[in-house]
Amino acid sequence: MNTERMLEEIREANLTYLMLAQRLIREDRAQALYRLGLSEEVADVIGALSAGQILKIAASNLLMCAMRFNDDLVWNLLTGHSRQEKGNAGAAGMHAAILMAGRVAQPA
């Protein structure tokens, strides 16, 4: 992948993410905080961005969103590599869901 193409894709991912985040925050702030895993402060900033600001922020060489879970267990449960997956598919998903919901956004 050449650099120009990579930057273009990062810009697009940023744009999609920021626009979705903004829509969610404006529609239902409380649910958005849960879905996005953002702190209130960051959510307020994103909610108030203008279209021009979003375009400008998106044009970066860095992705604006990061992985939400840095936990082996969550990833094992989600990818189905855990012992639980055998015979009880629902339980692994449930376990992952509780783990993820229990993780509160780090204050910015």
């Binding site: 239902d28 702030r29 409380a30 649910q31 905080l33 849960y34 702190s39 209130e40 267990l73 639980q84 009880n88 629902g90 339980a91 998903g93 449930m94 376990h95 869901a97 509780i98 783990l99 919901a101 229990g102 509160v104 956004a105």
Partner: protein, 179 residues
């Protein structure tokens, strides 16, 4: 004391409608709004086209300790706590939002909802009065619903250490939630 403010009443009717939409029992509506029983009954009939179910509410904390209800209750409380900590809202609004997210998550997992709205409401009340709380599992560190004075030093959750028959119950024949 009757509340006279029309704006407050409009807000309460909206909350009551949301609650009725989520299948809450009449006792929940009475507890969460200042509206009179007659008005709530009329609202219920208007929205549902039938009278609300009668009878006592479930009142046991033990139900939340059995394997399947415990996983669902723990998921719901994790969502509830998350929203509660993330922003300042009335308890009933957090409850409604958290319950909708719970139903959504359960649907995504392809599971049946085990926790009815009335049970979820009960659960939050049990937390408020200190009968139930959450404890982190010592293996996965996820928060699970436990009795308040239980010894949790070596607590392992029902999902890290699954009982052999867990999750193998047949679905309820009527497919109905046990309210």
């Amino acid at each position: 004391m009757r509340n006279k403010s029309v704006v407050t009443e409009a807000r309460e009717i909206r909350v009551a409608s949301d609650l009725i939409g989520l299948d809450a029992r009449l006792q929940v509506l009475e507890s969460e709004t200042q509206l009179s029983r007659e008005r709530l009954l009329r609202l219920y009939k208007e929205l549902r086209g039938k009278s609300p179910p009668k009878g006592m509410l479930p009142f046991s904390t033990d139900w939340f300790m059995t394997w399947q209800p415990n996983t669902h209750a723990s998921l719901f409380m994790a969502i509830y706590d998350h929203i509660d900590k993330a922003c300042a809202l009335d308890e009933v609004e957090v409850l409604i939002k958290a319950y909708r997210l719970y139903l959504e998550q359960i649907g995504q997992l392809g599971l049946q909802a085990v926790l009815s709205f009335t049970r979820a409401w009960r659960l939050v009340k049990f937390f408020d009065c200190g009968m139930l709380t959450t404890a982190p599992c010592t293996h996965c560190r996820a928060p699970f619903v436990v009795h308040t004075h239980e010894l949790v030093d070596r607590f392992v959750c029902g999902l890290c250490h699954m009982p052999s028959r867990a999750g193998k119950t047949k679905p309820h024949p009527a497919g109905a939630l046990m309210n």
